[in-house]
């Protein structure tokens, strides 16, 4: 079965500094990988997805992620954090029929 591990439960950065949220995955088959963001008391919003095309994936709001098969990683990055980026971020893996397995989440705090 597929699974993901988000390596940090909480990341704190200053506004204007880079963001790195780490995710490792496990899958017996070629996976699709996603990053979702969830603001407090809100639903899930898709940031970006990897589905076996380009390994560097660009998403919304300046986020991007790189699929590294050799490292089984799919880390999320952003060059410059904004206050509005403060939220919970979920790394997700899917193999067949969109059965999505979520990581435990990383809470991003952005300090002014």
């Amino acid at each position: 079965a597929q699974s993901v591990t988000q390596l940090d439960s909480h990341v704190s950065v200053s506004e204007g500094t880079p963001v790195l949220l780490r995710c490792n995955y496990s899958s017996s088959y070629s996976p699709s990988l996603f990053w979702y963001v969830q603001h407090p008391n809100k639903g899930l919003q898709l940031l970006l997805k990897y589905t076996s095309a380009a390994t560097l994936v660009k998403g919304i709001n300046g986020f991007e992620a790189e699929f590294k098969k050799s490292e089984t990683s799919f880390h999320l990055t952003k060059p410059s954090a904004h206050m509005s980026d403060a939220a919970e971020y979920f790394c997700v893996v899917s193999v067949f029929n969109n059965d999505m397995r979520f990581g435990a989440g990383t809470r991003l705090t952005v300090k002014p």
Partner: protein, 113 residues
């Protein structure tokens, strides 16, 4: 074009009661999946419905059951509610078998007292 809609948005139930949550998928989607998100945790897969049948199931007891209607909408039923069932229940819609974007609803907040 309406996205995924869920109802009700919030509800409170008593232990031992039964609850039904509803989901209408995004227009054109034929598959509905349900997830449970407990406070402070990531969503956990409950089950998936396609062609009115349960296709996949996560690690949830039989108290959790579902249904899909011919118009692709779906219901999640939970019997004999426990305090631990308190969570945000999310519905996701997609095309069956496709590695396409999956759309989530805003969720139904269930509190069991």
């Amino acid at each position: 074009d309406a996205g995924v809609t869920q109802s009700p948005t919030h509800l409170i139930k008593t232990r031992g009661q039964q609850v039904t949550l509803r989901c209408s998928p995004k227009s054109g989607h034929d598959t509905v999946s349900w997830y449970q998100q407990a406070l402070g945790q990531g969503p956990q897969f409950i089950f998936q419905y396609y062609e009115e049948e349960e296709r996949q199931r996560g690690n949830f007891p039989d108290r959790f059951s579902g249904h899909q209607f011919p118009n692709y909408s779906s219901e999640l039923n939970v019997n004999a509610l426990l305090l631990g069932d308190s969570a945000l229940y999310l519905c996701a819609s997609s095309f069956f078998g496709a590695k396409d974007t999956i759309y989530f609803g805003e969720g139904s907040w269930l509190t069991v007292v």
